[in-house]
């Protein structure tokens, strides 16, 4: 088989793939770009890799089926073994003294030594209950200002996403923002309507409502604040100060604001919608 000379500049598969990700050094990046510009075959290979990467990136980001929490106290590591032994011995003596059946050990993983099944069992999915341990949005999550919030005009915004409950045609989750693009220091008006919710609560934990601003698979949880009920529909929303968001640099970019509603009827079913949000530099 003749050994056809290949132009030295022809990129390898690894180089084409890394070129897509802008992960080559600048000289190699420029060499690949120059070659691809004049080579139909390599351009086709590059297009194929790009479309493949896009197909994978288009996979939906799934919502975890349960909340992740940590125990009240850390499990003790072996590096503190002597103290642990002393503690264990004292606990053993205590157990013997008072009788195991009379003890009320805390539920959850603090009482275990940590197989994943026991841990996850102890931290089982607890839908729509307010829990300091399991709160999805901690106290420091970005919170909105709700002053002068006009719930009556909710849903009028152009940047809106709506999803119907397939098993209940009158139930809808509606998410909207007042604009699609904001300055990094701008304020974003967000409205969430839980139409035909089984609950009238204006507590996001009771409703099972979470709001997340997502980019590149990384999210910032926003605190949804209940504003009022309009004809029995709980409305959440307010103005979020984008400058207060703990976003990774560069802050500017294309995000998606996602609303996830774990319908508070015990079914475990979820409605999810999202809208695009651009933060301009």
């Amino acid at each position: 088989m003749p050994n056809e000379p290949r132009t030295p500049a022809e990129p390898t598969l690894e180089e084409l793939s890394a070129f897509l990700d802008n992960e080559l050094d600048s000289a190699t990046q420029a060499r690949v770009a120059d070659h691809v510009a004049g080579c139909d075959e390599c351009r086709a290979r590059l297009d194929g890799l790009r479309e493949t990467a896009h197909a994978i990136r288009a996979l939906p980001m799934e919502t975890p089926p349960r909340r992740f929490t940590i125990p009240e106290q850390r499990r003790q590591g072996w590096r503190w073994a002597p103290a642990g032994w002393i503690g264990s011995a004292a606990l053993a003596l205590l157990l013997i003294a008072v009788g195991i059946q009379n003890l009320h050990l805390p539920a959850g993983p603090t009482a275990t030594t940590g197989s994943s099944s026991t841990n996850s069992g102890g931290l089982a999915f607890a839908p729509a209950t307010r829990s300091e341990k399991g709160a999805l949005a901690p106290l420091s999550a970005p919170s909105p200002s709700t002053q002068q919030f006009d719930a009556q005009s909710a849903g009028a915004a152009a940047n809106a996403g709506t999803v119907l409950d397939p098993s209940n045609s009158s139930r809808r989750l509606v998410l909207d923002t007042d604009r699609t693009s904001y300055a990094t220091t701008g304020r974003m008006l967000v409205t969430v309507q839980l139409i035909d919710s089984p609950s009238t609560s204006l507590q996001s934990a009771d409703q099972g409502l979470t709001l997340t601003l997502v980019r590149n698979g990384q999210g910032v949880a926003l605190r949804p604040v209940g504003v009022e009920s309009v004809n029995g529909t709980p409305i959440f929303g307010g103005w979020y100060d984008l400058a207060s968001f703990p976003l990774s640099a560069p802050r500017a970019g294309d995000y998606r604001l996602e609303a996830t509603w774990l319908i508070p009827d015990g079914s475990g079913r979820v409605l999810q919608t999202s809208v695009p949000v651009r933060i301009a530099g």
């Binding site: 992960e23 493949t52 990136r57 939906p60 940590i70 099944s117 997502v214 409605l271």
Partner: protein, 199 residues
């Protein structure tokens, strides 16, 4: 380029968590729960297994956070989860069957098209992509998931996996080529440019 994985926000939260601040660690959970869960999900397939792995990763991180010094929290957390995924396979667990979009607990997606035909096609495309990732060996699957699902930079992936940058580059490239080959067997859903020109 992916943003820095060791932001000042992470450093502040990690510092507080190292001092036992549970709220700070809870905020780290909120920040990383979706990407970490989705990494595990694309690795092991079954939502319950993925949730177990994510939960265990957070627990171990909470237990060991005092030992975290200079390493970025994100890479360290994902390294824990990646090791748990490998443990999962070492225990003989296989890639589980991911439920179809219609049967998962997400009963409605607002971004989905209302046209049933288009929605069915979108679901089929999603299934084919998932299957093509599942067909990869564990190392290639992990590399491409960290890159194309989690959006990590190559140096972050190298830190998570503890392998050289060149290995990351090679695994991602070979994984993409294999996925592409797999998808091209389904030109109805993934037409190549030649297919498009032929029509």
């Amino acid at each position: 380029m992916v943003a820095s994985n060791n932001s000042n926000d992470d450093r502040d939260l990690v510092g507080r968590a190292r001092r036992g601040d549970r709220e700070a660690f809870t905020q780290l959970i909120v920040q990383y729960q979706v990407p970490l869960y989705n990494m595990a999900l694309r690795m092991v397939g079954r939502p319950d297994d993925a949730a177990d792995i994510a939960q265990e990763a957070f627990l171990r991180a909470w237990e060991k956070i005092r030992t975290l010094r200079e390493a970025p929290f994100k890479s360290w957390l994902f390294q824990i989860a990646a090791n748990l995924c490998y443990d999962h396979f070492r225990r003989g667990r296989r890639y589980g069957v991911m439920p179809n979009e219609e049967t998962s607990n997400v009963v409605g997606l607002g971004i989905a098209t209302p046209d049933p035909q288009e929605r069915a096609e979108a679901n089929e495309r999603t299934r084919l992509v998932r299957d093509s990732i599942a067909a990869l060996d564990h190392d290639m699957r992990m590399a491409i998931v960290l890159r194309d699902v989690n959006g990590m930079a190559y140096d972050e992936i190298a830190a998570v996996l503890g392998v050289p940058l060149g290995t990351v580059k090679s695994r991602i490239a070979r994984a993409r080529a294999q996925v592409q080959e797999h998808l091209q067997r389904h030109p109805d859903f993934f037409p190549t440019r030649e297919d498009a020109h032929a029509e």
